[in-house]
Amino acid sequence: MSTPDVDVVVVGAGPAGSCAAIVAARAGLSVVLLERGPFPGSKNMYGGVVYPRILDQLIPNWWEEAPIQRWVTRRSTMLLTETQALTVDFRSEAWGQPPYNGATAFRPDWDHWLASHAEAAGAQVLTDTTVVGLLRDSSGAVTGVRTDRPDGDLTARVVIACDGVNSFLAKEAGLYTHTDAKHFTLGVKETLSLPKEVIDERFAVRERDGVDIEIIGGTGKVNGGGFLYTGLDTLAVGVVLKLPKLAAQQQRPEQLIAGLKQHPAIAPLVQGAELKEYSAHLIPEAGVAMMPKMTMPGMLVAGDAAALCLAAGIWLEGVNFAMASGMYAAEAAVEAVGKGDMSAAGLAGYQRRLEGTFVLKDHRKLRRAPELVLSDRVQHLYPPMVANVVERMFHVDNPNPKPGLRRILDQERRKAGVKRRDLLRDGWTGFRSFG
């Protein structure tokens, strides 16, 4: 067998790919990081919040240089009906100081920054290059990739596929058994311009402090969720929509964003803000239920390509799972190259690391959460039920005396058409997931 062109080819310069390239290059391996866009991050979009603590060791004091918009010091979870809003709002000064918690950031900025670290570590970053397929030997082991450049075959000891939610590489290798529309949500977003002072005032924050609002019940008949995040002088407002429901309900994505923006609880926050950019991306929503095999001879799969995106209602995380899985994939690749064993056994350090850390621990613990959060009851029956209970609790209906909470609960449950048995079952599922 001829000597491969490089030790490691990483496909996709998103957060998974760049972290993989950083780790592999720093370990002394020769690394090529391929990106199909004109610059890293140019194809990438998300809601808007990143949780970067996984970078503590990779890029010490990352917060001094990371291109963030605002530090999230206020987190709100909002339950909407057409005319009501129930918000749980939390703020912490600690989240506005190192080492911080969440931050709003634009992916073209964030991914570009991470890729610059990969380059600094010695990886060769090759943009404008689309990978069109895998190279494999007679045993089926991956030996490299085919790109759309002239003479574009690139051989490697290990390929790390970080090629995103559509991962044609993982599919080509047969690591996904099937693609099911119900495992995906479509995220659509409007980035809106608004002066910083106006944002500070409307959202009651100062300096670089920012707000993360997660919304349930704001997407009409389509199961999904909404979000509103503050950038420095921008707002990100959007919806996440369950694909089969979106198609069935005959409501277009941009109409659903418009509906959310017109809600009485949201409209005053976005009023007067001008559309700066409209964007869309798929989200691998179903967690464990859709995950592919992530290891095969000569190849590892990380980030969205491996469905490592946590969509669990109150927790919406993806970039941190991507960065971590990319790092762990590269650590395993370094071990394999060191041993000269690129078989599945030689690369087994990847799965071991995923299992031993938050990457798969969080996913396994929350494996029932995505389905519960997007279920018809949680989406369409519980929000009005809960909002009505709260409205009646705080509605002073003199000369009538205050009704007891238990009676309100029972009446509203029946009015919403919720069976006690289903409520208990969902409560138990929620408790087991989130508790």
């Binding site: 140019s42 979009m45 634009f106 479509l186 950019e277």
Partner: protein, 96 residues
């Protein structure tokens, strides 16, 4: 207190597309002709699937976000053949 409404075309003009002369997605109108559900028409965030009066579908690839929604919601084998655009082409989201 209504926001000024913008047309869909104006909405799409906020995003940058470096269009390649070759389409990266090809839709086989023959397969679509007898499809009554037309999931792609509703779900495509860029509204690239346009029904025609004779019951067909016209597809434009130029302003595609490359999200993958269309081929995932499509129920018809062979209706949509989907690839990423040539390197350096297609949608380019903004840096600040």
């Amino acid at each position: 207190m209504n926001e000024p409404t913008i047309s869909f075309q104006e909405r799409m003009e906020t995003a940058e597309f470096r269009v390649h002369h070759q389409a990266h997605i090809v839709v086989d109108g023959k397969v679509c002709a007898d499809c009554s559900t037309r999931e792609c028409v509703i779900a495509c965030p860029a509204n690239l699937f346009v029904p025609t009066s004779d019951g067909g579908i016209v597809f434009n690839y130029e302003q595609c976000f490359e999200c993958g929604t269309c081929y995932i919601v499509c129920n018809r084998e062979g209706a949509i053949s989907w690839h990423y655009p040539e390197g350096g082409h297609g949608v380019v989201f903004r840096r600040t």
